[in-house]
Structures are given as structure tokens and as C-alpha cells.
């Protein structure tokens, strides 16, 4: 079984050149952007609904949870807001990933499309949402300026590591979700539990002896690696180690799996 094809990129049978990556990444970005525009076309405040809903969520939780836990608001509110924003991007990527390919079945079956471009489209949509939500992060740092320190810059490499991880998660779950249709309800059932196991509503040291529960949730590390520096806490070696290991192991798994199965995708969706 062999297949060679020269579509739009001259003389690149394996199609893994820097030029083709840039070309496809730009296409994915454009499509993600136009999808977002289409989604909010007839809405007045558009994607800022997302910001507003995060804000409402933060407000409600801050009142209830703050009273319940007797938390220091100046500490708790920014931690909660930034945590929720990150969680939305993470959980949005994971829950939508399982149907990323089946939702785009019409495109996969009618236009020759590299599967990774579709995964990248989903990640870019999440990044666009995240960028809108950045308004809230700025707002938090403006209200609680004492949090701001040079450590905050560590959030940037942290975020890049998280996005690298999310891309393989989307890609693997996309393939598995196209083949096994039970994965979508399964993932939707697990995500709320992972939310309560993540350090969004509290910080890991507040769990005391039970902090190990959170350590079993891989998504916890994604939240902490970005949020901790923003809140003025130095980077934690364990968190960095976990995220880097996940990226390496995850991408190896992904490349191995998609290499074996990429030709089957059009038959699955």
C-alpha cells in the first residue's frame, strides 16, 4: 500500500517541511478565526459572552466558596479567575476533541485535508477564546496589583508547554473519538470530576494531606504551570517535569498512532 501525491506543495511527498507546516498552520488559523466570526456573527458582544460568563462564574463562586472556605478574597479571587479561564481552554479542547474529526466529516471526505490541520483548528479556536479571556487576567492583576512580579513571565513558557500538550491530546482523542463513538459521552462524564480534582477551586497546599488526589489529575499541572507564576509563585520543578514528560510521551504516542492510522480516518468519520 503506497500513496504518493503532489497536491499544492511542489515535490514534497512526505509533506513535512517547514514551508508546508507554516502553510497549513496559516490555513488552520484562518479557518479557526472565520469559524469564530461566523459563530458570533449575529451577536452584539460576540465572543465577549465568554468573558462575561467567566466573570459571572467567578463572581458567584467567589461569594459562595469564599464564605464556605473562609478564604482571603485577595488571594482566592484572582486564583479562581485565572484557574477558571485556563480550565475553560483545557476542558474545551478535551471535550471538543473527541468529535473534532466527526464534526468535520464532510470536509475530510470531500477535500484532501491533513488531519493535524483539523486538530490545530480546534486548538486555535481555544486560543482565540483564551485571548478574549485575557481581558479578565489583566483586570485581576489591575485590581490586585501586589500579585504582579517578574515571576509572571514564567507563565509564557508554561502556556506554550500547555498548548503543545493540548495539541497532542486533541489529536489522539480526535482519532479515538472517530473510531470509538462511546468516547464522547465518556469524556463528558469524566471532565466534571477532573474539574473537582483540579486546583481551580482551591490551591494544592490547601488540601493538606489529601493533595495527592490532585497529583493524579494530569490536567492539574496544566493549570498550575501557568497560574502559579501569574500569582507570584516561583516555578515548581515537579510541575514543569510532569508537563514536559507528558509532552514528550504524548507526542511520541501521537506520532506513532497517527502514522499507523492516518489513512483510515476518512473511513471512520
Amino acid at each position: 500500500m503506497q500513496f504518493s501525491m503532489l497536491v499544492d506543495l511542489p515535490k514534497s511527498t512526505s509533506a513535512i517541511s517547514w514551508r508546508s507546516i507554516r502553510h497549513h498552520a496559516y490555513i488552520a488559523w484562518y479557518i479557526a478565526w472565520s469559524d469564530t466570526r461566523a459563530r458570533y456573527k449575529r451577536s452584539v458582544i460576540g465572543p465577549f459572552w465568554l468573558v462575561l460568563s467567566t466573570l459571572i462564574g467567578v463572581g458567584g463562586l467567589a461569594v459562595v466558596w469564599g464564605a464556605l472556605m473562609n478564604a482571603d478574597m485577595a488571594e482566592f479571587v484572582p486564583s479562581l479567575a485565572i484557574g477558571l479561564i485556563l480550565w475553560q481552554a483545557i476542558s474545551g479542547s478535551v471535550t471538543e476533541s473527541v468529535r473534532a474529526f466527526t464534526d468535520d466529516a464532510a470536509i475530510i471526505k470531500n477535500i484532501k485535508t491533513p488531519p493535524l490541520r483539523i486538530s490545530l483548528q480546534l486548538l486555535f479556536r481555544q486560543i482565540i477564546n483564551l485571548l478574549h479571556n485575557m481581558v479578565l487576567v489583566v483586570l485581576m492583576l489591575a485590581i490586585f496589583p501586589r500579585l504582579l512580579s517578574p515571576t509572571a513571565f514564567f507563565a509564557i513558557p508554561g502556556l506554550i508547554l500547555v498548548l503543545i500538550n493540548l495539541l497532542w491530546v486533541i489529536h489522539v482523542l480526535g482519532f479515538l473519538g472517530a473510531r470509538f463513538r462511546d468516547l464522547e459521552p465518556l469524556v463528558s462524564a469524566i471532565m466534571p470530576m477532573l474539574f473537582f480534582m483540579s486546583p481551580v477551586l482551591y490551591r494544592s497546599h490547601e488540601l493538606g494531606a489529601h493533595a495527592f488526589i490532585m497529583r493524579f489529575n494530569p490536567l492539574s499541572y496544566f493549570v498550575e504551570i501557568v497560574r502559579d507564576p501569574l500569582l507570584g509563585h516561583g516555578p515548581d520543578a515537579l510541575t514543569y517535569g510532569a508537563v514536559v514528560v507528558m509532552a514528550v510521551v504524548g507526542w511520541s504516542l501521537t506520532l506513532w498512532m497517527t502514522h499507523a492510522k492516518k489513512h483510515r480516518l476518512a473511513y471512520w468519520v
Binding site: 500513496f3 484532501k112 465518556l186 473511513y267
Partner: protein
């Protein structure tokens, strides 16, 4: 130069029953060594193409005919690289553009102009190229001010015009078309045929699946008949002026 060679190409669709699609049966199969549930090991397949040997070269204007389910669409999608043959080898050289299921990749909330860029980019052109093609598409579609309106306001004939114009504007060397002449008014059908004739004169490859003998007669110089995924006949046609009616031999 464009060329497509199919060497003993077979395509088999796996038919996953609900059982084979589910994770549970796969887990049970693993957990029990596959003795209780072996659905996943014996996925039924349907042969859509069966050992096809074909070669298309510059200047070929191929009309693909055959009953529903004879494998026309599968053959087009295999040439386009969407389906990888389960057996055999295919090689295609040249820029490929496809006009398949109408509406794939169309974002109905966005305007015609936005969709021109979007669809062109999905077909693999750069944004600059796509923007350069806009005036050509404006001229062909004659949609006028409608191009600035959301596509959901279009009639099906108007969307057909837009999609067809975009697919042919990407300046492909190989154009694959799956029965699009069913929609669109007589005027559009005539102009679409003219555009394809002009396209074909640039000595490239056209493969067109259709049920209409008149379309085959007016556009094609070669007719391939498929039946149950098998090649039934492959004959040269003399052209529109002195063509004989294509034989309808049963296979």
C-alpha cells in the same frame, strides 16, 4: 504535466456495526482474549472499487458513468487522495481540485467573499492567490451584491455557482467533479460547461462523474463505465460532432 496512474486499486469500506464502534466491545475483547466478542476482529467490509487499472494523462476528459453505488464517487475520492486504497497503488501528479458534495467547508453565516477565501484555502491555495481569483469568480458567478451577503441567503443554485467557481478558480491541473449539474438553472449549466471546456483546452485532466449522457457527450473524450466497483468499459469518444451514442452494454 498532470498524470494519474491506478495500479490494481481496490477500496474496501469497513462497515462498523454499533458493536465494533464501541469501546466496550473492544475492552471486552481485550479482557476476554477476544473469545466472547469478536466483532472487532471481523469488521465487515464492502468492496467499493475492485482491482482497477487506469491511466489518465494530459488532455483526458473522462466521463465516469455507472449506476448508483457503482463506485464513481469512491474512485474520484481515491484519485483526490481522500481514500487510501486498501490494496494496489495510485500515483497522482498535478494540482488537484475537487467539486464533490456541495457545501463541504461552506460557512453559511459568512459572506460569499469570506467563503471564497475560506474554500480556496481549504483546497490548498495561499490567501494571496485566493484574493487574486476574486474578480474571476465575481465574473463567473454573476452573483453581484449577493457576494457580500451571508451564504445562507443563497438559493441552492447560487451556492452551486459559488462553489463551482471557487473549485475551478484554483487553477488545478486535475479537476475532479462529482455530479453537480443536477442543480443550477439552464443558464448556469451552460456556463459551467463552457468553463469546463475552456479549462480542458488547457490540456489538463478532467474526471467527471455523471448520470447525464449529454454531459458526457459534450465534455468528454473518454467514457469509463463502472459496475459494482469493477471496470466495465473504457472507450474513447470521438467528440461532440460525430459521436456515436455510447454503448450501454451490460456487464
Amino acid at each position: 504535466m498532470a498524470r494519474v496512474i491506478l495500479d490494481d486499486v481496490s477500496v474496501e469500506y469497513p462497515i462498523y456495526s454499533a458493536g465494533a464502534f464501541s469501546l466496550r466491545s473492544r475492552l471486552i475483547a481485550i479482557g476476554t482474549g477476544g473469545r466472547i466478542s469478536n466483532v472487532s476482529r471481523h469488521v465487515k467490509t464492502v468492496a467499493a472499487l475492485d482491482g482497477l487499472n487506469l491511466e489518465f494523462k494530459d488532455g483526458d476528459r473522462v466521463g465516469l458513468v455507472g449506476h448508483n453505488g457503482s463506485g464513481k464517487s469512491t474512485l474520484l475520492r481515491t484519485i483526490a487522495g481522500i481514500f487510501t486504497p486498501t490494496r494496489g497503488k495510485i500515483s497522482a501528479e498535478g494540482r488537484i481540485s475537487t467539486v464533490f458534495e456541495l457545501g463541504a467547508g461552506l460557512q453559511r453565516e459568512l459572506s460569499g467573499y469570506d467563503n471564497i477565501i475560506r474554500m480556496s484555502m481549504m483546497l490548498g491555495t495561499s490567501r494571496a492567490e485566493a484574493e487574486a481569483n476574486i474578480s474571476d469568480i465575481e465574473a463567473f458567478t454573476e452573483l453581484g451584491d449577493f457576494l457580500a451577503m451571508p451564504v445562507h441567503t443563497y438559493s441552492s443554485g447560487m451556492s452551486t455557482r459559488l462553489i463551482f467557481a471557487v473549485a475551478t478558480s484554483t487553477n488545478p491541473e486535475i479537476l475532479l467533479v462529482d455530479e453537480v449539474f443536477a442543480t443550477g438553472d439552464a443558464d448556469f449549466q451552460e456556463r459551467a460547461q463552457r468553463r469546463m471546456t475552456a479549462f480542458v483546452e488547457k490540456a489538463n485532466i478532467l474526471v467527471l462523474a455523471t448520470h447525464s449522457d449529454t454531459v458526457v457527450e459534450s465534455l468528454c473524450n473518454r467514457q469509463i463505465r463502472l459496475e459494482h466497483g469493477l471496470l466495465c468499459s473504457d472507450e474513447a469518444m470521438l467528440g461532440p460532432e460525430n459521436s456515436e451514442p455510447p454503448s450501454n452494454a451490460e456487464c
